[in-house]
């Protein structure tokens, strides 16, 4: 009994923590303060501390999927014809990084850029919350990376800072070499200093052009632009005729690798084509959130009422467990975080129905044991024991199905759609949490707060 009480206190503590995590964003309170009014805005907490040298940063906010927040989702398929098998993965990665950079540059908040390889198809999935102009979005992600070599129109050293002029698109002009002339770029290490550097290799045609350009530019700087943004501007020391060049600088392994990938992106312009694009207006999303939340609340109210009518005081306890269930699942959505989609909300609502089921199974077993004449406390423990097997077996199949739908291995032969996954995630979390609340929470609540039936004694005789 002592242990049960401890569990009960722990559960209350957990509930308090969960409530803090689950606070709605921008919750406003207006408190009359004398003649003036004080407005307090509450937000879910965020952690930003350093613990044992590890930086922990976490914001407990709800992540809404595109179908709720509004936005555009684009699936691009890379055309890999003419690209060697060994290079396919790399070029997809480069393309992904370029798109990521462009999207970030564009200022989209919380964008998602993912590469997906299945069999012989190479795809990039881009999610742009808040962007509803698809043409704009496509212009952003659809083009291939554009690498360009440019020379300085007039290169001067700033007298005051003794530094070179920063090359821009305005103060440079094209030398006629672009990404198409580049064969490959790799990260390598200087044979003398061991420092990382970036090697580039030109195509035969590029080699010719490059030799000519470097011959003219000896002693001058050659600026390399990627998507109109300066990457580097090394000074040409000799004419390079073998089509191989090395970009040195104060690179770290990481930055050299990054540049190499960027150059490859320009060098291997993988043509991409749009295979799917979906746009959802922001109002539709907001409306869906409102409506489904309202539906959820009403449904939940009905279920709670139903439980009380059917089971009396036990029903109240089950409802308390249900509230606990709601708090836990919502906190998990924020902690993991789970991106909430409309089907996800449906999954959550559905799992509430199933969470109640464990309680119903337990209560009906309990009533049966009571009818057999067992004392209440023993009947309850027996009820829990007997119901557990059914609860486990019955929920097991739902868990299997939700795992298949979620496709954790990212297998290409299973659905990878975000909508389906959103549903599977909430259903899975819901079922697993319901096992916990059904067995631990309800049981503890009953042990502590329930002192046997008053109404049901009549049934016993």
């Amino acid at each position: 009994m002592k242990k049960t009480k401890r569990t009960f206190v722990l559960l209350l503590l957990l509930a308090a923590i969960l409530i803090v995590i689950d606070i709605p964003e921008n919750l406003k309170f207006v408190i009359p303060f004398g003649s003036s009014k004080q407005t307090i805005t509450l937000n879910p907490p965020s952690i930003n501390t350093t613990l044992f040298g590890m930086k922990i940063q976490k914001k407990f906010t709800t992540h809404l999927g595109l179908d709720l927040a509004g936005g555009t989702q684009v699936s691009l398929e890379a055309d890999m014809t003419g690209i060697k098998d060994a290079d396919k993965q790399d070029s997809l990665e480069s393309a992904k990084q370029v798109i990521e950079r462009r999207v970030n540059f564009f200022g989209v908040s919380e964008p998602v850029v993912q590469s997906a390889v299945s069999g012989t198809t190479y795809r990039i999935l881009v999610e742009l919350p808040g962007v509803t102009n698809t043409e704009e979005a496509l212009a952003l992600v659809g083009q291939t990376a554009n690498l360009e070599f440019r020379e300085m129109i007039e290169d001067t050293i700033d007298a005051s800072t003794a530094a070179y002029l920063v090359p821009t698109m305005e103060n440079t002009k094209s030398v006629g070499i672009s990404g198409k002339d580049l064969k490959k770029s790799t990260i390598q290490f200087n044979s003398k200093s061991g420092e990382p550097e970036v090697g580039i290799q030109f195509t035969p045609e590029g080699t010719k052009k490059f030799a000519e350009v470097t011959k003219q530019l000896i002693g001058k700087r050659l600026a390399i632009f990627l998507d109109d943004v300066i990457v580097t501007a090394p000074t040409v020391s000799t004419e390079i005729a073998d089509g191989e060049a090395v970009i040195t600088g104060s690179f770290t392994v990481d930055s050299a690798k990054k540049l190499s990938i960027q150059l490859n992106a320009g060098a291997l312009p993988v043509p991409v084509k749009v295979v799917e694009k979906r746009t959802i207006g922001a109002t539709l999303g907001a409306e869906s959130v409102l409506k489904s939340t309202r539906a959820g609340v009403i449904g939940l109210g009905l279920v709670a009422l139903f439980m009380i009518i059917e089971y009396g005081w036990l029903g109240v306890l089950a409802d308390l467990a249900l509230i606990m269930y709601g708090l836990i699942t919502f906190a998990l959505y924020r902690l993991i975080p789970v991106t909430l989609t409309l089907p996800g909300i449906a999954g959550f609502i559905l799992s509430i129905g199933m969470a109640v089921d464990s309680n119903i199974l337990i209560f009906s077993r309990y009533k049966e044991e009571l009818r057999k004449g067992k004392p209440s406390a023993i009947a309850m423990e027996l009820g829990f024991g007997k119901a557990w097997e059914s609860i486990r077996d019955a929920n097991f199949t739902t868990i299997i199905t939700s795992i298949i739908l979620f496709n954790p291995g990212n297998w290409s032969f299973l659905p990878t759609s975000g909508l389906v996954r959103g549903f599977a995630a909430t259903l899975f979390i819901g079922v697993v949490t319901s096992l916990f609340t059904g067995i631990v929470v309800t049981r503890t609540f009953i042990r502590v707060l329930y002192k046997g039936p008053k109404v049901m004694k009549g049934e016993q005789s």
Partner: protein, 293 residues
């Protein structure tokens, strides 16, 4: 105690009544696949007031926009289904609509799915369903170590799947409801639900068989059904409450998904005592008759 096993013919009639129209419709009309499966463009536009019938169609015709169907979705919103259209075509079509109707509709949704992706999704859904059925089958076989129970549970599952597909075939034919990714999800969830209830009942029968190994399956199932019926109904009611709220108030985008889940839940609850259990009883009866001969 109600002798549920006395009325097997009633259950057969009810199932037949639901299954036959659905099956007929499935064979005759099939399902209406959405752009998710066929590829194409789907536009959803919201106007301030409803348009005269055929307005959008005639604009599409004069603009040569490849419209296939136009549907009203909740009042003054329209779902326009078309072949794969480019952004320029869509913009041109929108401009034409704005100039002809005198208002710029709000674009709620604009989906374009390439044909490759559609067939891919179909393949993936089939694989996912097969995988789920196999997993459920294995689990039931493992849990009951008895082919009679396992096969009956799976037959009840097939019954439920047919009910869901059949009703959506009918919805498709009469209301133009399409089968999309979400439907596939609902259908897969139905499968796990269907087994959920069946397992609870079979668990009871198993429990009684342990106590009374020579007991007649028919009597044992009647006891089990009497004991679990209350719980089954209560549980289904709670799920049905939630789903019904979603169907009635959840808005257009989730409505038919919730309907699919609702039908799945109802048939899943029904099939456990009235399809799966009678099947076990019948199987047992036939087995015993064979032995006696």
């Amino acid at each position: 105690m109600i002798r549920f096993s006395k009325y097997i013919w009633v259950y057969v009639c009810i199932s037949a009544l639901v299954l036959i129209p659905g099956m007929y419709s499935l064979v005759r009309f099939g399902l209406r696949p959405s752009v998710d499966f066929t590829g194409g463009t789907l536009l959803e536009m919201k106007f301030s007031k409803s348009l005269p019938a055929g307005t959008i169609e005639s604009i599409a015709k004069s603009e040569q926009f490849p419209v296939i169907t136009v549907q009203t979705i909740g009042g003054s919103s329209y779902g326009i289904r078309a072949g794969v259209a480019t952004d320029e075509e869509i913009t041109k079509f929108q401009t034409a609509i704005a100039s002809k109707t005198g208002e710029t509709p709000e674009l709620l949704k604009k989906d374009t799915v390439g044909p490759i992706l559609g067939s891919e999704l179909l393949f993936k859904s089939v694989v996912a369903s097969l995988l789920a059925v196999t997993a459920i089958l294995l689990y039931v076989a493992y849990a009951f170590k008895n082919i009679k129970f396992g096969v009956s549970a799976i037959l009840a599952l097939i019954h439920d799947v047919l009910v869901v597909f059949g009703s959506f075939s009918l919805f498709g034919h009469f209301f133009g409801i399409e089968v999309d990714t979400l439907f596939m999800t609902a259908f897969l969830t139905t499968m796990s639900f269907s087994v959920h209830d069946t397992i609870v009942i079979f668990d009871r029968i198993r429990e009684y068989r342990k106590k009374d190994p020579r007991g007649n399956i028919r009597d044992l199932s009647d006891i089990a059904l009497n004991e679990t019926m209350g719980r089954s109904l209560i549980n289904s009611f709670t799920i049905i409450f939630m789903l019904l709220a979603l169907v009635l108030m959840g808005g257009e985008s989730v409505k038919w998904f919730a309907v699919a889940l609702l039908i799945g839940t109802i048939t899943g609850t029904y099939s456990s005592p009235f399809v799966a259990t009678p099947l076990v009883i019948l199987w047992d009866y036939l087995e015993n008759r064979k032995k006696q001969h």
